[in-house]
């Protein structure tokens, strides 16, 4: 187990290097200059040249990358070109709202998707199954920005139950926090709910058709126990895989959701830093996302082992 973890951690190093190099190259391949963007509509070439030199942007690209890497290894991700704040601070500050939003979205997805998935698998072709399938189709098909605007229209404008936008930290003020994150979390969780529900349904259907389920039924177990203990447990592996991969999609979805609901999170930071060509921030965010993605897959791997004793981590 420990050996497995160490091995996996060492394995992430080349991935991080490769990703950072790719992002660095891509960012510099696209035209545009952070200093020009910062100056806005008034461009004074002389001042901008001095600024560029100041920020080291006039050095050859490989020198810039090497300098960045050298600092990054020592834990210094540099300063934002646009705001001159340390990248680590900026990223960690924005991580908080995104984590809260994603956590609630996942929680919502789990609470809705598992029971609905189990119901539609055990009552296949029933009315419940049809409704759940329709919802799932809607959930994966409707883009986030549409879901978000529809929710705002219904729950904020028409019913007046929840604020249209804004962010309140859940730990600072739980009620206001939940109110502010309710609509965004539903928006973000919608597609995830649909995917988990469909995965639960098909995976459970498959395991319920296995011999060991017939055996369990034959020995007289209650149906509930058959489904939960024998069916669902064996059906969980593919679901865990999908959920692990969906964490990456949550981040992508957060870009749009955070934009619509005015939440100061990582998603917006990515977009803003790309548009501003804020290279250090961009690098920092990507690094963080990769680490998050690797971590969520690692957790999925660990879960495999605990769900299925036949799988050994080595």
């Amino acid at each position: 187990m420990i050996g497995f973890l160490v091995q996996r951690l060492i394995g992430t190093i080349p991935v991080l290097l490769l990703v950072s190099l790719t992002v660095f190259s891509l960012m510099h391949l696209i035209p545009g200059d952070p200093v020009q963007v910062m100056a806005g509509e008034v461009q004074d070439p002389e001042t901008l040249a001095r600024l560029r030199a100041d920020l080291g942007l006039d050095r050859p690209l490989y020198v810039q990358y090497a300098a960045w890497l050298g600092n990054a290894v020592r834990g210094d991700l540099g300063k934002s070109i646009r705001t001159r704040e340390p990248v680590t601070d900026v990223v960690l500050q924005r991580l908080r709202p995104t984590l809260q939003l994603s956590a609630i979205a996942m929680l919502l997805a789990g609470v809705v998707a598992f029971p609905a998935g189990i119901l539609s698998a055990t009552r296949r072709n029933s009315r419940i199954d049809a409704i759940a399938t329709a919802f799932a189709l809607l959930g994966v098909s409707m883009p986030n920005f549409l879901v978000g605007l529809l929710l705002i229209f219904a729950f904020s404008m028409k019913l007046g139950w929840l604020p249209t936008s804004g962010y309140v930290d859940i730990f600072a003020d739980p009620i206001a926090g939940l109110r502010s994150l309710a609509l965004p979390a539903i928006t973000l969780g919608m597609a995830l709910t649909a995917v988990i529900m469909r995965m639960t349904r098909s995976s459970l259907l498959e395991s319920l058709s296995q011999d060991y389920v017939r055996t369990a039924r034959a020995k007289g177990l209650v149906e509930r126990r058959v489904v939960i203990r024998h069916g669902l447990r064996n059906a969980l592996l593919p679901i865990v895989t999908v959920v692990g991969l969906q964490v990456g999609n949550l981040l992508a979805g957060a870009v749009i959701t955070e934009y619509i609901f005015a939440i100061p999170g990582i998603g917006r930071l990515i977009v803003d830093s790309v548009f501003a060509r804020d290279y250090p921030v961009m690098q920092g965010v990507v690094l963080l996302s990769v680490i998050g993605f690797i971590a969520s897959n690692l957790v999925a791997d660990l879960l495999y082992a605990s769900l299925d004793p036949r799988i050994r981590l080595s």
Binding site: P31, G32, D33, M38, A39, G40, T47, S156, P163, S165
Partner: protein, 532 residues
């Protein structure tokens, strides 16, 4: 030019009723707090009431911004939205009135003994938010910070004509210019004239970007990036009885629909800008007042006069004559603003009233194509950022010029690419949205003088160069109006650019927001604003 009251500094008589209203708000807020469920699922009115209980007599104004500010340091600011906040934290030396006249600010009065010397007499007893005194030495520190090439201030271009700053006595400061500049005072009504506390400059350095210290009606409290910015009343403000408000809370709401929804839902009291497609909606809302503020801006299509095809004047004329401006403004911008006849907006005193908008004339366009040696038309490319309205304009123009055989490709680029390509003259035609300056020089010299810092079309016309030089030396408004009128005529005839739109900048606010001064620079100055 002697001191007069600050524009719009009337004390309104509605404060008692406001107090009564807040009392009611407190009671409602208390009731809401009794029931936790109501707190979670309470309606908008209860939400508004609950928020009002934080408000003392002057109240709290909640303002929605379309973008977050980039920095709180005016000397290093390149973003327009930064200024929305600066005008409440900092005071400029001179201020801009609704009629674009220059009024006293931190300078009580000023005189120009000769065209290259400006003497400013400063207001006595003004202190910065950190308690230090505002005086001539502070003015010098600010100008020196903008002028020092080593410090790389983005204001350096604004103050480029200033040779030196001389402290005459604690309340008198003299600016010595290299050459006459009639636009100087107008420049000093904005970021270049805003005074930062020298002690704060010393203390914070680069960190001033997050710790603004000015003399303005409101003091900086807190800034949550991309979320909110909080200002509170400056109790020691130098203008008696101002400001009225206790605090201002800015919120960043990027999405236009959501920002307007938040306004209609009473989650915010005011927005900095209502995009054209929402104007009918906010006007129809009885709880809102919508003010059309004509802006100084001009949106135009740059034609690159240094490379084919638009280095050929006849082809530029053919292109411009194939475009019908009026329907673009009417259909796409929904008539919010005016079709442009040149670079200077109708909001300016220097607007060329007698110059008509260039008419569409397809016969003329065809004749010019023949004259330019391209009787069957030519191909060109137009660069634009892909916002919905930009793309609509591009497509309409594309269809219009196609009628005379001009094939126009639309190339979509993002902001950073657009700026880089424009500055590098790497374009044939490109979209430009200039926010405008209070003095006509700011809408003309930089773009169309051969020495202009932002003459991206590479335009060079000796008569225009001379007229624009004159415009800087002459100070009489009537004479300058004639000069800029002539410039407008020549620009329209020669087409280094196709002028399209002078946008209005409508602002919408709740009906209880009173005393807002609609200055055509689009800035929200809250010193005189109150909630009734």
């Amino acid at each position: 030019m002697k001191a007069r009251a600050y524009p719009g500094s009337r004390i309104d008589a509605g404060r008692m009723s406001r107090r009564a209203l807040v009392g009611g708000g407190l009671a409602l807020g208390g009731a809401a707090a009794l029931s936790p469920l109501a707190g979670v699922l309470g309606g908008p009115s209860r939400l508004a009431a609950a928020r009002q209980d934080a408000a003392a007599p002057g109240g709290s104004l909640r303002v929605g911004l379309y973008l977050d500010a980039a920095t709180m340091d005016p000397h290093f600011s390149g973003s327009k939205v930064d200024r929305q906040i600066y005008f409440n934290v900092y005071d400029p030396l001179v201020t801009l009135a609704e009629d674009l006249s220059i009024q006293p600010g931190l300078a009580e009065s000023w005189e120009a003994p000769d065209p290259t010397t400006y003497v400013f007499h400063l207001r006595e007893g003004v202190t910065f938010h950190d308690g230090t005194a505002f005086d001539a030495a502070a003015v010098k520190v600010n100008f020196d910070r903008m002028m020092d090439p080593e410090l790389k201030s983005l204001r350096r271009g604004d103050v480029a004509g200033i040779e030196s700053v001389e402290v005459v006595d604690p309340l008198t400061v003299t600016l010595h210019l290299a050459e006459p500049n009639s636009a100087l005072l107008a420049t000093l009504t904005d970021r270049a004239g805003m005074m930062i506390s020298p002690a704060a400059i010393e203390q914070f350095g680069e960190e001033l970007a997050r710790n603004p210290v000015g003399t303005g009606p409101f003091k900086f409290v807190e800034w949550q990036k991309d979320d909110s910015l909080h200002l509170e009343r400056n109790t020691d403000y130098w203008m008696d009885g101002l400001p009225h408000l206790d605090e201002i809370r800015y919120r960043v709401i990027l999405d236009d629909s959501v920002r307007i929804a938040a306004l209609k839902n009473h989650e915010i009291d005011m927005v900095d800008y209502v995009p054209p497609k929402f104007v009918a909606d906010t006007r129809a809302d009885a709880n809102l007042q919508t003010i059309d503020i004509p802006s100084l801006a001009v949106w135009f299509i740059w034609l690159n006069t240094t490379a084919p095809p638009f280095d050929n004047k006849a082809l530029r004329e053919a292109f411009a004559s194939a475009i019908d401006i009026a329907p673009i403004v009417e259909r796409i911008y929904l008539g919010i603003g005016k079709p442009a006849n040149g670079p200077i907006s109708p909001a300016s005193w220097a607007y060329a009233k007698d110059v008509p908008v260039r008419p569409r004339d397809l016969d003329f366009a065809r004749a010019k194509l023949a004259e330019g040696g391209m009787p069957d038309g030519f191909a060109c490319a137009f660069k634009t950022e892909p916002t919905p309205s930009n793309l609509q304009v591009s497509q309409i123009v594309q269809a219009m010029v196609a009628e005379v055989g001009i094939t126009m490709d639309i190339i979509q680029v993002d902001t950073a690419t657009q700026i880089a390509d424009t500055v590098a003259k790497n374009f044939e035609a490109t979209w430009s949205q200039w926010s405008g300056r209070p003095d006509p020089d700011g809408n003309t010299y930089q773009h169309f003088h051969v020495n202009g810092g932002m003459n991206y079309g590479g335009y060079d016309n000796p008569e225009v160069n001379e007229l624009l030089d004159q415009g800087r030396v002459v100070s009489d408004r009537d004479e300058r109006t004639k000069i800029y009128g002539r410039v407008t005529e020549i620009l329209q005839e020669e087409c280094p650019a196709v002028f399209v739109w002078h946008p209005d900048e409508p602002k919408a606010m709740a009906t209880n927001v009173q005393g807002f001064p609609p200055v055509p620079d689009g800035m929200m100055r809250f010193a005189t604003v109150s909630l009734d």
